[in-house]
């Protein structure tokens, strides 16, 4: 029987959550025994090759490309997990949510104290995805099955969760793994 497949994506995140996945250290070898990776920055597969058992999403949706990817994940994954505070709540990127988009762009490209932009152009090419009006946590765009808080969730939390899901056992998350203060 072929191994179940896992896919991952980083949307509006800092890749910290992906780093945390890699932080499982040598257990990654065990993970490879359990699963195959499909679309993911880990193996650089760009588009889904088939149905996946689990999708891990880092980051919320800040632009239309994030939305496209997230919807694609929802279509291909049996179980979709929001990993980390950006995916579950918007996180740091969502700090722009109280500021109009135009002001954010002007600050980033024209007015910010460290900006050097003599031509005064705000990048605008159709290859560049359009920003959304605000940063959305993943569950406001598609249905999410599980939320894993933390910035990032620790490698152990991710490990325990994945193994439990893949081996169909109840997840065992001791207090230390879900305590964040």
């Amino acid at each position: 029987m072929s191994k179940p497949k896992v896919a991952t994506a980083s949307l509006a995140g800092c890749f910290g959550c992906h780093m945390s996945v890699l932080d499982i250290d040598e257990r990654i070898l065990k993970l490879i025994e359990l699963v195959d990776f499909d679309k993911s920055p880990v193996d650089d597969i760009k588009e889904f090759t088939g149905r996946c058992a689990v999708g891990l999403i880092e980051g919320g949706c800040a632009n239309e490309e994030n939305v496209r990817v997230l919807q694609d994940f929802r279509r291909h994954c049996d179980v979709l997990i929001s990993v980390g505070d950006c995916a579950t709540m918007g996180g740091i990127p969502a700090m722009r949510n109280n500021i109009p988009l135009k002001e954010c762009l002007d600050e980033a490209y024209l007015n910010g104290p460290t900006v050097y932009n003599p031509s005064g152009i705000i990048p605008n090419d159709k290859e560049i995805p359009l920003c959304l009006d605000k940063v959305y946590p993943c569950h406001e765009v598609v249905k999410i099955d599980y939320h894993m808080p933390g910035c990032p969730p620790s490698a152990d939390t991710i490990w325990q969760t994945l193994v439990a899901l893949l081996t169909n056992k109840p997840v065992d998350l001791p207090y230390e793994l879900i305590k964040y203060d």
Binding site: N63, E64, E65, V67, R68, Q71, R74, R75, L80, P100, L101, K102, L105, I122, N124, K126, P129, L130, C131, L132, D133, K134, Y136, H139, E140, V141, V142, K143
Partner: protein, 605 residues
């Protein structure tokens, strides 16, 4: 800082004895004079009363009648309560916007008129209604808006607005208001003829303990909503340690759909103050406070006059009616537009010059209330019953009503009925009888006890109105067969979102979430599981909130879920594609498309 501002503030603070516990009066006066309580003003007030600036700002930012931002000399507040909406306040709102050329929340360019919404202002039986500063204009229509806006633009003085006068004391020169009493049914206790001072005289011939016992024997229970036995409350307050005690009359009447206290303040002010005086005698208080909601400021001068008359007749003051050593007087404390201040501990906070945050209980007000002293807070109607109990005796008082709920109750009836107004009915009346009385036999639903009470359907129309069955502080709103009860629940949740004091998370955030799920359902995006979420969320908010507001605010949702489940079920549908139906990509990229001057290439229209 302008000399004008400093000298005015100095004067105001001095008038209030530079006493920081009179903060409400101070900031209200500054607001009235300058149309705002600016940063400068707050700094200076803090200096005058010797407190931190943040103590001033925390009050100013809490109450909707106070503002840091400059407002117009005339502030128009259109009531956007559910009942007002049912009687057409939405078109009235458009008319105001059109006539004034501004949107709600804005001030005219000349700085003279500000347009805002207000939650229930206690005029549901004559809605749509609006406040023009302290003046009230009722029965608004688009034509009337045209007239009244043209009128106000002539003088910018709401007291000069032309209008017909209401009945009874509404026509008194000190009230001079178009408000109507709409008393539809007179019972034997409140609206019957009564002999002024007879109750007080009888009381003063008895000992305080005997007075309390008489009230206990009358089994008088609080009419403000909670129904706590009044005699017992007085006994606790009397028995609490300390010499100094207070009695406070709760005239905050903010529960949407309630307006019976307004009618009592207008027509039974003497009876009310007599009740407070007897209460003062019973618990051993020499000071009383009438906490009057800001929306009823138009009654203030009249009430002050009633108090002054009583003083001149030795019904207030020293050695009242010759009773040596019994001194008692009443002051009026104005509120400033906050529903939560009807909750007794918030009300006490407000009287103390603080934000209207509820206090932690215990200690209860009877032990430690206003300024830390034992305090009895009683509703207007409760206190109006007291002189009757003392005049006619407990045995007479309990002759009517039901076993657990003796005597009569005032109901404020409004909504889809032929005769909205105030009804004094004996406790134990069947809902169906009431519906007949008010001309609403075709009712689909009834809100009993205000939004914090319950919304019931025809299955409950054979139940009775009393403490042991359908309890009510007085609000009864009728909904006709055409009304969408989910939309009604959403409107009431909007009210609680606005009025939550924000102290605790379940209420501050929970009500917002409840409202969001209702909106989701109303916009056709609801899914069957949302009903379970609403149920669980509502229960959690009730159980985990800190005060009565959050402990009851989910009721409109929970009771409609129970009694009008069909209405919910027909609005939800299952989704299968895993997408979130509320997410609208077009809306989400619209701003960026405008800025970039190009359309999305990923999500092609």
């Amino acid at each position: 800082m302008s000399v004008n501002l400093t000298s005015a503030i100095k004067e105001i603070c001095k008038f209030c004895g530079n006493d920081r516990t009179r903060m409400m009066d101070i900031v209200r006066a500054v607001q009235q004079q300058f149309g705002q309580v600016s940063d400068e003003a707050m700094n200076y007030i803090a200096k005058c009363v010797n407190c931190h600036r943040v103590e001033v700002e925390s009050v100013v930012s809490f109450y909707v009648f106070l503002s840091k931002k400059q407002k117009g000399g005339v502030v128009i507040r259109l009531c956007n309560d559910v009942v007002d909406k049912m009687s057409g306040s939405e078109v009235v709102a458009e008319a105001f916007e059109k006539e004034l050329g501004i949107k709600f929340g804005q001030t005219t360019p000349d700085g003279k008129i500000t347009l805002e919404y207000a939650p229930c202002i206690g005029m549901c039986d004559q809605s749509p209604a609006a406040l023009f500063n302290d003046e009230i204009i009722t029965y608004l229509s688009t034509d009337k808006v045209k007239e009244v806006v043209a009128d106000i633009k002539k003088h910018y003085d709401p007291s000069k607005l032309k209008h017909r006068l209401g009945d009874g004391h509404n026509a008194d020169e000190l009230v001079h208001s178009c408000v109507h009493n709409n008393i539809r049914n007179k019972g034997r206790v409140i609206f019957a003829e009564f002999k002024p001072e007879a109750g007080l005289k009888n009381a003063l011939a008895m000992s305080s303990v005997e007075v309390i016992n008489e009230v206990k024997n009358a089994r008088l229970r609080g009419r403000g909503g909670a129904g706590f036995p009044t005699g017992m409350k007085w006994q606790f307050t009397r028995g609490a340690a300390g010499e100094k005690k207070y009695i406070i009359c709760n005239a905050d009447e903010g529960e949407p759909g309630t307006f019976k206290d307004r009618v009592l303040l207008t027509e039974r002010a003497d009876m009310l103050f007599e009740g407070m005086t007897i209460g003062g005698y019973a618990i051993g208080a020499d000071e009383g406070i009438l906490y009057l909601r800001g929306e009823y400021a138009y009654l203030r001068k009249f009430l002050e006059k009633v108090l002054a008359d009583r003083r001149s007749r030795n019904l207030l003051g020293k050695d009242i009616l010759g009773k040596k050593g019994f001194n008692f007087d009443v002051r009026i404390q104005m509120g400033a537009g906050a529903y939560i201040c009807g909750e007794e501990t918030s009300l006490i906070s407000s009287c103390e010059g603080l934000r209207g945050d509820p206090k932690t209980r215990p200690p209860f007000p009877a032990q430690k209330g206003y300024l830390g002293k034992p305090t009895s807070v009683n509703n207007v109607e409760t206190l109006c019953c007291v002189p009757r109990v003392l005049e006619m005796g407990a045995a007479w008082f309990v002759e009517v009503g039901s076993a657990g709920s003796p005597s009569t109750k005032l109901l404020s009836v409004s909504g889809d009925c032929k005769q909205p107004g105030v009804y004094e009915i004996p406790f134990g009346v069947k809902v169906s009888e009431l519906l007949k009385m008010v001309g609403a036999e075709d009712a689909q639903a009834l809100l009993i006890g205000g939004p914090s009470g319950q919304i019931v359907g025809s299955a409950d129309f054979q139940r009775t109105i009393c403490y042991d069955d359908l309890a009510t502080g007085g609000a009864v709103v009728v909904f006709g067969p055409e009304r969408d009860m989910v939309a009604v629940a959403a409107d009431y949740m909007e009210f609680f979102v606005e009025e939550s004091c924000g102290y605790c998370t379940p209420c501050r955030a929970g009500n917002v979430l409840l409202k969001k799920y209702l909106d989701k359902i109303l916009t056709g995006c609801g899914e069957p599981e949302d009903l379970d979420i609403l149920q669980k969320l509502g229960e959690s908010v009730k159980i985990t909130s800190r005060c009565g507001l959050g402990q009851t605010s989910p009721n409109p949702v929970l009771t409609t879920l129970k009694n009008f489940r069909k209405s919910y079920e027909t609005k939800v549908k299952k989704t299968t594609n895993g997408m979130q139906p509320t997410f609208d990509i077009r809306k989400a990229v619209k701003g960026a498309e405008t800025i970039a001057k190009r359309d999305s290439v990923i999500f092609v229209k």
